[in-house]
């Protein structure tokens, strides 16, 4: 396995608040990597640093060996590094199929291809993926009218439509009906194994992340607290303390 994302000694502060201090993380190609930590531990800040939403103070971030810490969001996304948002972002005035079709991987298109109409195959793929996340019945509904959980699923499907190399998911199970969580875990795993998409997931739900990830990083107070396999993390006293607030 090769490293696809390498975060080296990244620090980021907002004013006087240190959100990330000297963090180093590796994401293995083809795997599922988890990022956990209590609220305010700097997980989303790290995500935003990787996908280019703000400049970092120091350190380096590499994607497939290429330095990306100075690049703009869309340039990074065009390398195939995609993210979903904690507060979902979809095109609320369009229906689900349109949302899917808009998410076609434009980075792989030439201008001539962009100036063509979507083919039958594109529609089929869109509907297939909507079926994959369980939104097939609702595919012609205005996406803004969907529930928060359904919007999350739609956003996930849109990300798959985009054929990313790596997908960064910010709390994919938050706000999703607990009875559906097992189904979602299953789909995330299948996205990883069937479509070959490397996943990097922020997750609060311990059970979820322990079930999925093959390696986990734990942040606390903006610093890297521990890393290892799920069982190592589970057995780590510092992680337990951080979550129970003994830190």
């Amino acid at each position: 396995m090769t490293k696809i994302i390498e975060v080296n000694n990244v620090s980021k502060s907002y004013g006087g608040v240190k959100a990330n201090t000297d963090i180093s993380i590796e994401v293995q190609q083809g795997g599922i990597t988890g990022l956990i930590g209590p609220n305010g531990s700097g997980k989303t800040t790290l995500f935003n640093s990787i996908v280019g939403y703000h400049p970092i103070d120091s350190g380096s971030i590499r994607f497939e060996g290429k330095e990306i810490s100075k690049m703009q969001v869309q340039d990074i996304a065009r390398l195939g590094l995609l993210r979903t948002f904690q507060q979902t972002r979809i095109y609320g005035d369009m229906n689900c199929v349109e949302n899917m079709l808009i998410s076609m991987p434009h980075r792989k298109m030439t201008i001539r291809e962009a100036f063509t109409t979507n083919t039958r195959a594109d529609h089929d793929r869109a509907e297939h993926l909507l079926d994959f996340v369980g939104l097939y019945e609702k595919r012609f509904l205005r996406s803004g009218s969907l529930s928060f959980g359904q919007q999350k699923l739609l956003e996930f499907a849109m990300a798959l439509m985009n054929e990313p190399t790596v997908l960064l998911l910010d709390e994919p199970t938050a706000g999703i009906n607990p009875t559906l969580i097992n189904g979602l875990i299953d789909r995330l795993k299948r996205a990883n194994s069937e479509f070959g998409i490397t996943l990097f997931i922020i997750e609060h739900n311990m059970r979820v992340i322990m079930n999925m990830a093959d390696s986990i990083y734990c942040l606390a107070h903006g610093e890297l607290l521990a890393s290892g396999t799920p069982s190592e993390i589970q057995g780590d006293q510092r992680v337990v303390d951080a979550y129970l607030g003994a830190h």
Binding site: G52, Y53, H54, P55, Q72
Partner: protein, 303 residues
């Protein structure tokens, strides 16, 4: 081209010319800053980008000019313009602005653009399209062997503008209404929850802005000239200043106002008076572009 080089050469040959240009620029810049302060107020408090700003200025100028035509001393024109424009601002708020505050920004921009056209055309119908100014019976001061001439009228105008600005700032800091305005600017919903009548605050803010512009116009007409269609350039200057300084940055607004005034004077000295309007607008593009590059370094966009 030769003329441009000649004009630049003049600046080095006679350094005192620089001083004259700077002085001229700073004096008109003080009035730009006043209009920009009003814009920043409205922008910050109610998130309305008012493109009719300059037309309020011009309208205030015509109020003072009308009074002067009827034999009333122009100094009295300043408070009268303040009051008249307060009322016009209040009516404008009730009829139009009130309905666009909660809408997207382009709506308020376009609505105020429509207002700007209306104001300019009404002024044109009422006063004709000639440039107007008030001749004050005041001496002109000369410095540096007559190279620098400072009309007293301009000096008085700038001092009045400073007093007005000081008064408004004091009001914003000390009074209950000033506090309410600042609270609404920070978080309108929170202010509403705490029992502040935000509609009243908005109406007051917009009227105050309009009144400040009116007074600025009354000062401008004493020492410079006005014309019904000059409004849009004043609006653009106000935008340049606020964009360059950022919201809620009073020293910045003043500095940017004076700076823009000086740059414009330099520009029209070098390129000729015909380019004055163009320079005012090109400065906008320049400032926007610089801000853009700054934001880009922060991986952000200007929005």
């Amino acid at each position: 081209m030769d003329q441009i080089i000649g004009n630049i050469g003049l600046l080095f040959e006679f350094p005192v010319v620089n001083l004259k240009i700077l002085l001229d620029g700073i004096m008109i810049g003080a009035l730009f800053a006043l209009a920009a302060y009003g814009l920043a107020l409205v922008w910050g408090v109610m998130n309305v980008k008012n493109l009719a700003q300059g037309d309020f200025v011009i309208a205030g100028g015509y109020v003072a000019w009308t009074l002067d035509q009827n034999g009333i001393h122009p100094f009295l024109g300043i408070p009268v313009a303040f009051i008249v424009m307060w009322i016009i601002g209040w009516i404008t708020y009730k009829l139009v602005i009130k309905r666009v505050i909660e809408r997207d920004l382009f709506t308020s921009l376009l609505a105020t653009f429509g207002l700007a056209i209306m104001f300019a055309q009404i002024l044109n119908l009422m006063f004709g399209s000639d440039t107007q100014s008030i001749q004050l019976d005041m001496p002109t001061l000369y410095f540096a062997d007559g190279f620098i001439d400072v009309p007293m009228s301009k000096l008085v105008g700038v001092v009045t503008a400073l007093c007005l600005a000081f008064g408004v700032i004091l009001f914003m800091k000390r009074s209950r209404m000033g506090q309410a305005i600042r609270a609404t600017a920070q978080d309108a919903r929170a202010a509403r929850v705490l029992g502040i009548d935000t509609d009243k605050v908005y109406a007051f803010t917009f009227s105050l802005n309009s009144a400040i512009c009116g007074a600025a116009g009354a000062i401008i007409v004493m020492a410079w000239v006005i014309q019904p269609f000059y409004g849009i350039t004043y609006s653009i200057r106000a935008f340049v200043i606020v964009t360059a300084a950022g919201l809620g940055n009073l020293p910045g607004v003043i500095a940017a106002g004076l700076g823009i005034g000086a740059l414009e004077q330099y520009g029209s000295h070098i390129f000729g008076i015909g380019y004055q309007q163009a320079i005012a607008v090109l400065l906008l593009l320049l400032v926007l572009f610089i801000r853009l590059l700054q934001q880009r370094r922060k991986r952000q966009v200007l929005q």
